[in-house]
Every structure is written in structure tokens, then in C-alpha cells.
């Protein structure tokens, strides 16, 4: 019964839904330092808390392979919050770890990205650098893994 509630809790209208999902994901994974410096250049906005930052545990579920049954992979510390700007745009954040500040800045960036007057500035100051940083980190990881790659060959055994 709690499932149906969580399914639709943060649903927005379908236009722009996927885009917002993607930036919320990027903001959640980016560094606190990047959020701090990126948002420092944006004019500060008054906001009210809908839900103050709170830290809790989330059960991460996984599947082994594409067809395996789901199992509980492990618990993860998550901090979430929701706020609303004076002009009505609401921002939410669910970030890994216990940093209330990071959750607040991510939610603030989410709200600002939905506000026409600030969206472009936040996109160039926060979202694009964050996307680049994540892509760089993924690239570095991939290169490190590639360096230790071992090619296996199956050699047919000679007869006799």
C-alpha cells in the first residue's frame, strides 16, 4: 500500500519530467564543493522548507543478471529535503550521505532550474560543470579498468 504512494509522490507533468529526473540525478551525484561554488554566483533566493533535511537509511535492491529475482543489496545513507522558492517552484533532493548542506543546495538548484529567470544561469554554472565532472570521473575509472584488462583466447587443442 505504501508503494502506490511513493510511485507518484514526486511525479510532475510528463513534459520535462525526464529532463528534470536527469538533472536531479546529476545534482545528487555531484560534489558539494561544485554545488557551493556554482550557486555562489547566483543571486540568493528566499525559500521555505517543505521538509527540512533529514538523514535516513534506504534499502537498495538489485537483480543478479537481467532475469534474476530481486534481492536486498544493502542499505545506504540518504539525506533528503524539499523546499519552495518565494515564486512557487519546489525543489527536492535525495543525496547520498549525511550532508544536509548538500541536500539543501541540490534542492535549491532543482528549484532554480524550474524557474525561467534563473534556469539558464544555473544550467551553465552548476549543471553543465557537474555533468562534465561526472563524465570525467567515469572516463578515468574506465581508463583505469581498461589498463588492467586481460584478453582471453580459446585455443583449440591440437589433436594427438
Amino acid at each position: 500500500m505504501s508503494k502506490s504512494a511513493s510511485d507518484s509522490l514526486h511525479a510532475v507533468d510528463s513534459a520535462g519530467h525526464a529532463e528534470r529526473q536527469s538533472w536531479i540525478g546529476v545534482l545528487a551525484r555531484t560534489d558539494l564543493a561544485l554545488l557551493e561554488t556554482g550557486l555562489a554566483g547566483i543571486a540568493p533566493q528566499a525559500f521555505e522548507w517543505l521538509r527540512k533535511p533529514e538523514t535516513g537509511l534506504v534499502m537498495v535492491r538489485a537483480r543478479a543478471g537481467g532475469t534474476g529475482t530481486r534481492f536486498n543489496f544493502g542499505e545506504m545513507t540518504v539525506t533528503r529535503c524539499a523546499l519552495r522558492l518565494a515564486d512557487g517552484a519546489a525543489g527536492v533532493a535525495y543525496v547520498q550521505g549525511r550532508s544536509h548542506r548538500k541536500a539543501q543546495l541540490a534542492a535549491l538548484a532543482d528549484a532554480l532550474l524550474q524557474t525561467d529567470s534563473s534556469a539558464a544561469a544555473v544550467r551553465s554554472a552548476v549543471l553543465l560543470p557537474a555533468e562534465r565532472a561526472l563524465a570525467d570521473a567515469a572516463g578515468r575509472m574506465q581508463r583505469r579498468a581498461q589498463a588492467t584488462r586481460v584478453e582471453f583466447f580459446t585455443v583449440a587443442r591440437e589433436a594427438g
Binding site: 505504501s2 502506490s4 504512494a5 507518484s8 509522490l9 522548507w49
Partner: protein, 201 residues
Amino acid sequence: MNAGFDLSRVSAGFADPSIASQAVFRDILEALSHPGQLVGVIASAKAPVGVHAASCALLLAMLDQDTLLWVSPSLAARDAPGYFRFHTGCTMAADPAAADFALAASPAELPPLDAFAAGSEAYPDRSATLVVQVPSLEAGQGWTLSGPGIRSTRRLAAGGLGAEFVAQWAQNHKAFPCGIDLFLACGTLLVGLPRTTRVEA
């Protein structure tokens, strides 16, 4: 009922959820221990349209992800379901009989009391708790209340609840240990009417 909602229409809940819900819980306990007595609820939440401060505070303190809430039609059509789902994680019930908690915007929207779960002889605790918002609450006049928590009798006048309600309440009282518990809310005032209280017009 479970359709997505607009978060920008949700107003703020308790400023400090753990402290505020404990304070409100104490007020609720006070109201139920002294049936018919007017209890002022200190509420920091910004209630959605149509919900009084006292009933909003009570529900924020009592609801959680394991409870089903039913709200009367005029509230269900507006921001109240989204508000309580966001702040408490509760689930909305379409059927009053399934609800653990119910909120009626006005006496006119209150279904018959037997539409709600009254619990069973084995589990009388599995009954619904109702919050009915009334236009006025006055002590010292109107109904005569008696029962546990009242030394002799206590008088209470609740606007909009007539003889029909008193008759339904008599049935509810007779069903003890089963039966619903009820709160009357008006602004920041709360009155408890547990199933043990006798109401005479």
C-alpha cells in the same frame, strides 16, 4: 486519488517535526483523558485549504506510512490528500470503512458513524479515529457529557451536530469495547470524545 500532485502546492508541515508532534501528542492525550474539555493545540504547520489548524496538527502527529486516511469529498478534491501524503507518508483510503483515520471538513460531510471501522471484540483497537471540523465549540452549554474522565457531567456545544449525531453516538457508545473515537476541531481548539463518553442532548 493516487495521481501525481504538484509539490509546489504543498504547504509547510511542522517546523520541527519531532518536538512539535510530541507536543501535539500530549494535547491529544489531554483531550482524550478529559472528554469534552476544550484543548488548545499549539500548531506550527501551515494547514492546507479547508483544514483547521487543530485537525491538521493532530493528523500530522498521528499519521505514518502504516495508516490509511480518508478525507471528506470537498477536501479530497483539493490539496489536503497531497499534503498529508507528502508530510506523513500515509495512504489515502477511498472507502471510509478501510480508514484508520478520517477527516470530515464539516458536520454536513460526515458519513454515518457506522460507515467507519469499529474494531472487533478481539481487536477493539482496530477502529477508526475520526476528526470532525465544526463551525463552533462552546463549553458550558449544549450537550451533557458523562463517563470516564469526567467527574460528574460536563457541557459542550458543537455547532452543526444535531440530534441525528447524538443518536448515532449513543449506538457507538453502546458497542463498547468496539466503536470509534472522535475528535471535534474548530480553529486551534480540539475536543476529544472517546467511545466511553455518554452524550445527551
